[in-house]
């Protein structure tokens, strides 16, 4: 548990009691294609707290969606997971969650300390962890009522074991919402299906729940019994949001939630999503290539380029004083209404081919500040300013 003071994009300063829900460490993943391995995600690490809105921004093809799919373990067959941990945290008293974690790598936050290892035993009052301390493996006993958060490594779960976590722990709003609704079933039925998979409630109760969800997202109750082709684009988006909220998930991942919509509807939906997020104190991960969208909704921003996370920090810091040259270039491409007139600088070149990415820092061919070391070695992801990380040999400011 910690106090967090966040400066959000809109200039609000919020101090809340918050705790982590997700910790991603060194996530690496390739796609195997006929032409070779596409190195789509390389060493991505970030964390997400309760109630936080994280925005992942980057060009198309930089790996944002791949990261999201990896979290839910929804990758296609030709995807190869190469390493990393995705710790999904729940309260220490959550019995079902703890039981699922037995035998798996876990991370435990207790008494302000972090313990990492494999969960060996789960007793009623205490648990046993197999941790690596000082190069040796030894069992660590922890009293269960001192445990604040227990996080299980999702990458170590089998597909069947992931099922209870999908949608109820982490849900997702897919890119191009119109395609994530099955055209042959009524919309309401599809949401009820999600609800009934995770919660043992009767159909009338589920229907009531869907009605309330529809109300929350601003859809007419009667639309529940209609088919997706009878909805407009904006309505479909709202329906998909309602579906994502259906099981009260801990985290919602919204992948390009408004790309397929026209600008006016886009604005409206983004604002409503932000409202819902604040109201329910949800943790969200927004993914977009449009920096304006991220600016609108995110408290924390992660900038991705060519499969790696190049900068990560509070959104105000990222926008006002970016560290990585790529982030700066993204800002330059985004005109400011209030600020002085600046010439829009387009980045030269194109995003690299991930089959054969550039050596060292993947951005170096396009970077105006690149030096010799940038070509040789991959820069480390370091905390250059408080809570503001970047991976660059020549950071700005």
């Amino acid at each position: 548990m910690k106090w967090s003071t966040r400066a959000c994009a809109r200039g609000e300063i919020v101090t809340t009691l918050t705790y982590p829900v997700l910790q991603v460490e060194n996530l690496t993943m390739h796609y195997t294609t006929r032409k070779g391995a596409v190195k789509a995600v390389e060493n991505v690490s970030f964390s997400l707290d309760k109630g936080e809105a994280l925005g992942l921004v980057g060009e198309s093809g930089c790996g944002k969606t791949s990261v999201a799919l990896t979290l839910l373990r929804l990758l296609p067959e030709n995807a190869q997971f190469l390493g990393g941990h995705v710790y999904f945290f729940r309260d220490g008293s959550d019995e079902a969650h703890a039981r699922r974690a037995v035998g798996k790598p876990v991370k435990i936050l207790a008494d302000g300390q972090e313990h990492q290892g494999r969960l060996l035993e789960l007793g009623r009052s205490e648990l046993v962890l197999e941790a690596h301390v000082n190069g040796r493996t030894q069992p660590v006993r922890l009293s269960r009522d001192r445990i604040a958060r227990l996080g299980v490594d999702l990458t170590a779960l089998s597909d069947e074991e992931m099922r209870p976590i999908r949608w109820k722990g982490i849900s997702m709003i897919f890119q191009a919402a119109m395609n994530s609704l099955n055209p042959v079933y009524k919309v309401g039925d599809q949401i009820i299906e999600a609800i009934q998979t995770h919660m043992p409630i009767s159909i009338p109760e589920a229907r009531e729940r869907v009605e309330r969800l529809f109300q929350l997202v601003g859809l007419d109750r009667q639309l529940m019994d209609r088919y997706p082709h009878e909805y407009s684009g904006g309505m479909k988006q709202r329906a998909v949001i309602a579906m994502a909220l259906a099981c009260d998930p801990d985290i919602i991942i919204a992948d390009e939630p408004t790309t397929a919509l026209d600008v006016i509807v886009q604005d409206k939906i983004l604002r409503e999503m932000r409202q819902i997020q604040k109201k329910l104190n949800m943790s969200m991960i927004y993914i977009s290539h449009d920096i304006a969208v991220i600016a609108e909704v995110a408290d924390t921003v992660g900038v991705m380029y060519a499969g790696g996370l190049v900068e990560f920090g509070p959104s105000e810091a990222i926008f006002k004083s970016p560290i990585h040259p790529y982030t700066k270039a993204l800002m330059s491409a985004f005109p400011s209404i209030k600020g002085e007139k600046v010439k829009l600088a387009a980045l030269p070149g194109e995003p690299p081919d991930l089959l054969k990415p550039p050596s060292g820092c993947r951005f170096h061919p396009r970077c105006p500040f690149a030096t010799e070391i940038c070509e040789r070695e991959v820069p480390q992801f370091l905390e250059h300013k408080p809570k503001h990380y970047a991976a660059c040999w020549n950071p700005l400011a």
Partner: protein, 448 residues
Amino acid sequence: MNRLWQFLTSGMSKFIIMRLLQIILVLYLYMTLVFIILEAQPGDITDIYTANPKITPEAREAIIKQLGLDKPIHQRYFEYLKNFVTGHLGCSFKWGNISPTPDPICREQRPTWDLIKERLPRTLVLFLTYTIVSFYIGFFLGKLIAWRRGAVIEYLSTVIGVTLFTVFTPWFALLLVWIFAVNLGVVPIGGFINPDSWTNIRQVGSVDCSIGISCSNVVFNHMLLWLGGLTLLWGIVYLWSRRLPYAWQRRAVRWGALAVGLILAGSFFGGGWLGEVDRVVLARDTKFQFFVWELEFPAGTIPLYPLVLDFVQHMALPILTLTLISFAGTMLLMRNTMLETMREDYVIAAKAKGLPDDVVRDKHAARNALLPVVTSLIFAIAFSVDGGVFTETIFSWPGMGQLLLLSALEQDYPVAIGALVFTGIFALVAHLVADILYAFLDPRIRYD
């Protein structure tokens, strides 16, 4: 009442009505086309209908008058259409009259319509059974093969599928007859019934068995009625049960209805029925007859099940042949469409919702992959009907297909043309049913 009105004004029923109207139009075009082709034949059209030496000149005159063959072409066209609608299609050259009350026009020859009426149920039984079975097997296998990819399975299924799909039907039918009937001897070589089994039956219901095979027709028609009726009723129960909220309720209702239907059918065919019989003997028809029995029954009753078994054992091989030929096409297509559907976003979304693997496969992927397959089935109806012609001939199954072929070979034109038109109508009705099925499956094409 309100529910009925709701259904009548729904998109679904509007669709059905539209399709019906279109079908009537198409039927009209088809018959016109046949008429044009008839007219285009060298020779007199009156010859086509009346050239049989067995017909007396007066009868020939009567036929010519009745069918309007002596009038100019436009009037003939209308007569032709009218005749089809009223059901008089000319008289057979070959087949003689067998009914106690001869048709006033045809006298000693059998009216075409009579022949068709007798044979249609037999083709219907074959067609319905093998269509449903082959579709379901193809659907099931295609769905499984696409879901669990594997190089060996895909290769095997492609090879087997393409072979069965393109195999030369008569040759394949002969092959199967040779394997199963001649060598293994588990099924009779051909035919519809074994006459020996029926010789001791004098009367079934009110039908006198001494006249040809009319008794077997009665029993067979009852079989068809039960088969069709039960399927229809079960279909309605299935549709109704979709509104039930719980899965266990739905399953209970459906299986319960099936059980009830089977019990009803069993009691009808298993119990005694009115008739007169000395003994019922199921005679030896194959090398390894599984059941030969002689049964004594109290006077006045006949159990129908041995007779039904006689039909069934004759139906087994034709249905097997037709199923083997047809399921491959469905399976290959289902596999391909399923592979495409599996990549759709809503399948990934379904998985993301935490649904079990087989639910994602069946309820989401397969359900959508089904749609193009049903569409292709519509195109394949004509092909199936043709396949039926070959199979019926090889197996001597006396249905519409065999009628068509035999009459064509004997140059019995009225029957051949009548059978051709009826085959067309048959295909049209099948087309309509398939269209309705498709509208039922895909809500996007209804006229809402």
